[in-house]
Symmetry: C2
Subunit: 562 residues, 2 copies
């Protein structure tokens, strides 16, 4: 450990992932106040929804704070290849242009993304698990294998001039995770024995799950049994990145005498990455969709994308009909080897009901037999607190309620803790964390090919049009400010008829004409006031006719005097 100087401090600040689940991005800094050298851990995405972000493609952390301090940023570390940890990297890296470090599998996925984005894949450097270490300014960082629902998830050991930090990443306690290294208590104890752990930044996702987590390997039996008992085609879905589960499913299918076919781009990509990076040495042989068409249904198993009911994924396509010539029929089984992420219930329900209409038997995780979570439950978190004996626990990766509950159990166990939602800068130099600053953090939207801020008003306008509909009014005035013809109205997303079955456009146009007939010369000469007046008329008439106040675009054109 380098000698520390008076006035230097160790800081931590999440830009995403704390106070919400998704778009993880955590900043660590060390140095004199306002001159700390910085590293960034993870740069992930969150997924949009119609309620708050219609039309948006991806939600990413607002990194403007970092961009304004680029000269102080040393490096970026990615703990694992889940989209909420790596998904924003290729989109935002061009604003950061710093070295990126990850383990082999994570780097393989990251490099694929960099290639697609036209960036140099070699920017992402592969780091082996500790003892290999990366020095980044005042920080020395090591990757520690942990088990999770994707291969090669890592915790980070971050050594600083003021002590050792463990950044948990996403993890669960699973000694037999199927693919990749298992959880190992000894590995953690060694870390704490080597250098006392000052702070543990810790995954909080499952803090409300009160039973100890279950191992991936508890699924082999039930899934095999389930599949062995089926007479029709078997289709199963899980997260594409859960390579161990894909293997479990495929093995169960093969054991039941079925040919296995993977459907969905994401799934094939993950299996390829797992094989290329060497984390998965054997995956049961699988056949192409074309070959699958020739296999009798009772001998066929499809493993498909779309565990969350995503419209364009294979599961939803099969729910709507044929997909690559394959089709589900009465007596087939569809297995959700996955949980429904809160907020996706409606989409998943649609898929299940569509299968129900086809006579397909849907099996989900409601019995708890065909899926296990990738995150540590409360007793597991408490176990890790005890293994590492940190001076403080800073909960991360959770909504506010998760962070609060996780902090509560740490405090109850006599460990200092702080709730630090996005934008909260903690000074963790001393024995207890102190909030020293709160910065404005927002979200950056990838919208088509454009990056926009969540507060730019773009999405707000879309939501307003979705709620209120839209009216366009055009009016042409001659060189003497007299209306040339009548105001013209177009409506979109509004009922076409109002009270007494009157045509809404006609009513609006005739009421606007009446208004213009009585308008003063002065009003007609003033663009802004005239626009406001026309809007008032449209709003009032719309309210009377259809009970809504639409969004409005008014275009006033004036013919120039010649």
């Amino acid at each position: 450990m380098a000698p520390t100087k008076a006035g230097e401090r160790l800081i931590y600040m999440p830009l995403g992932g704390a106070g919400e689940i998704g778009m993880n991005a955590y900043v660590y800094g060390y140095g004199p106040k306002g001159k700390e050298r910085l590293i960034l851990v993870d740069l992930g995405v969150a997924f949009p929804d119609m309620d708050s972000s219609p039309g948006v493609d991806l939600i990413m952390p607002d990194i403007s704070w970092l961009v304004a301090r680029l000269d102080r940023l040393e490096a970026i570390f990615i703990t694992h290849a889940h989209e909420d940890h790596i998904g924003a990297l290729a989109h935002l890296w061009p604003q950061l242009k710093k070295p990126v470090y990850a383990r082999r599998f994570t780097a393989t996925i990251g490099r694929m993304k960099f290639e697609e984005a036209g960036l140099s894949p070699s920017t992402i450097q592969i780091i082996e698990p500790r003892p290999q270490a990366v020095t980044a300014g005042p920080f020395t960082v090591q990757f520690v294998p942990v088990s999770h629902s994707i291969p090669e998830s890592a915790a980070l050991v971050i050594d600083t001039p003021l002590g050792r930090i463990v950044h948990s990443g996403d993890f669960k306690l699973d000694a037999n995770p199927g693919v990749g290294e298992g959880w190992d208590d000894a590995r953690m104890e060694e870390i704490a024995a080597e250098v006392p752990v000052k702070a543990l930044m810790c995954d909080s996702t499952n803090v409300f799950s009160l039973h100890p987590g279950r191992s991936e390997n508890t699924l082999h039996g039930p899934i095999s049994e389930l599949i062995a008992g089926q007479g029709g085609m078997v289709v199963a879905t899980t997260f594409a990145s859960n390579v161990a589960r894909l293997k479990t499913l495929a093995e169960a299918g093969r054991a039941a005498g079925r040919s296995v076919c993977l459907l969905g781009r994401a799934m094939k990509r993950m299996v390829t990455a797992a094989q290329e990076s060497g984390v998965m040495t054997s995956f049961p042989p699988n056949i192409t969709p074309e070959a699958a068409l020739e296999v009798p249904r009772r001998n066929l198993m499809l493993i498909v994308t779309g565990s969350q009911g995503e419209r364009r994924a294979a599961s939803a396509q099969l729910a709507r009909g044929k997909y690559l010539g394959l089709e589900m029929k009465e007596g087939d089984m569809f297995l959700f080897s996955s949980k429904c992420i809160p907020g996706n219930e409606r989409e998943v329900g649609k898929v299940i009901n569509a299968y129900s209409e086809m006579g397909v038997n849907v099996v989900d995780d409601s019995g708890g037999k065909y899926h296990v979570s990738g995150h540590a439950n409360r007793p597991d978190l408490e176990h890790v607190h005890r293994l590492l004996l940190p001076d403080m626990v800073i909960p991360m990766h959770g909504e506010h309620r998760h962070l609060r509950e996780h902090a509560r159990i740490a405090l109850e166990a006599g460990i200092a803790a702080a709730i630090a939602p996005n934008g909260t800068m903690l000074d963790i130099s001393g024995d207890v964390p102190k909030v020293v600053e709160r910065i404005e953090t927002g979200r950056t939207y990838l919208d088509g090919s454009a990056l926009i801020g969540s507060m730019d008003g773009v999405v707000r306008d879309r939501i307003r049009m979705a709620l209120n509909g839209h009216v366009t009014v055009t009016l042409i005035l001659d060189e003497n400010n007299a209306p040339l013809g009548e105001a013209w109205v177009d409506i979109r997303g509004l009922p076409t008829t109002g009270k007494g079955a009157r045509d809404l456009i006609e009513t609006l146009e005739s009421d606007l004409s009446e208004f213009l007939d009585g308008a003063s010369k002065k009003l007609l000469a003033d663009d802004d006031k005239l626009e406001e007046a026309l809007k008032r008329v449209v709003r009032q008439v719309s309210m009377e006719e259809i009970g809504k106040k639409p969004e409005l675009t008014v275009v006033i054109s004036r013919l120039a005097a010649e």
Copy 2:
């Protein structure tokens, strides 16, 4: 039972509620084919969401089939006062204008709604439980008390020339529901003993819940204990219509030495209706919000609306800050004595996280101690099948997967069954149900004050604007078809800058100008072709600049030759 004539038949057809949960509306008919006399059971609403029905106020069944056969409709029966059973009545009754029958509490709620809608409350007639009966054409209908999560829920005994039908309504097996009559096996056995039950149309909501349902009275202990242990203010929410729960909560509050205050219009209305209709003779005294401001927090309990996180309800208002001067603080408790209806997870989560930020302890139903469902679980359904011994079970009140599972368990028990989603007409004259017709059923939206069809394209246009944004293009052409000035562009819900930080409007305008400069006289003279061409330019430029194809309104104005 009246003698039956050859060629007459007994039919059943749901217009809502089967294949989805919500907007219940079930038609029964008896008579010669195509001339059946009809009755309607329930006329409820479903609730809109941003994904599929942005801006819509309420979703109601499409009753055009009934409206086209008004001369054959005898009467409307309402089983209970939940919105999904009664909510569309006041909106659609003016199209039906038939007598409405309901029990006293249900009628009280219905009459309030009729008054608000400017309809005559006396249209809704109060019917006492059987043996009172209503004759409606070939049908004799009796109301049978069942327990549910609202007072005076009823099953209907519908006697027809071809036998007895039991329409279950919404129910659970609860001998001690707190308010209103309990479930009584003997009552059901008597019905079946009197006249054999031909068909049971049966609630399917909880068919996937494998344990027997629990009684409302199991909640008194845990809720009282929970509240007694609190030091700060206690706030609890449940469905406003769950009057028994309101009473349980209020009694627990009073027992803990707290003054109780009800917040939210719906809640006060329900308590008033329960008292006015006589179903609830005693409700603990409660105080006004003004009086509540004077009570120390440790002696105060609020019972509030908004168990589903509804934006405008009291729970969400308190999550955002003060509501009627009342405010939650660190150490207070908020109890969800309710379940989160699938699809509302995000909204409920927002409220919980907002409370978490305030330091409020949120208790929800995850432990299963503070809420019980109002619907019969699978073993309860099987019990009712055995009590009534119907020739056939027709599952209703469920998504397709629920109907399918419910039919499956009936068939397994040797009872005939059919899955009849909305618009499926069953002939139930014989021993087994037969599908005889499928009509097109849609949904009717209450949108502001207008009624529109779900397939009218109005909502589709809103969704498109929400996903793609909107561009208005206006162009004026002179009497010689030459552009007068340049095309003018307005954008809404779109990024303002495209590639290389170019202003999107400027780019669109200059590319449109360039296009118009090169446009042929013929094109400029043809409104339709010109509009299409301008749209092509806007779509292409938008795609290049921002990666999106916006919705478009193009207004071409032509100056008339003078």
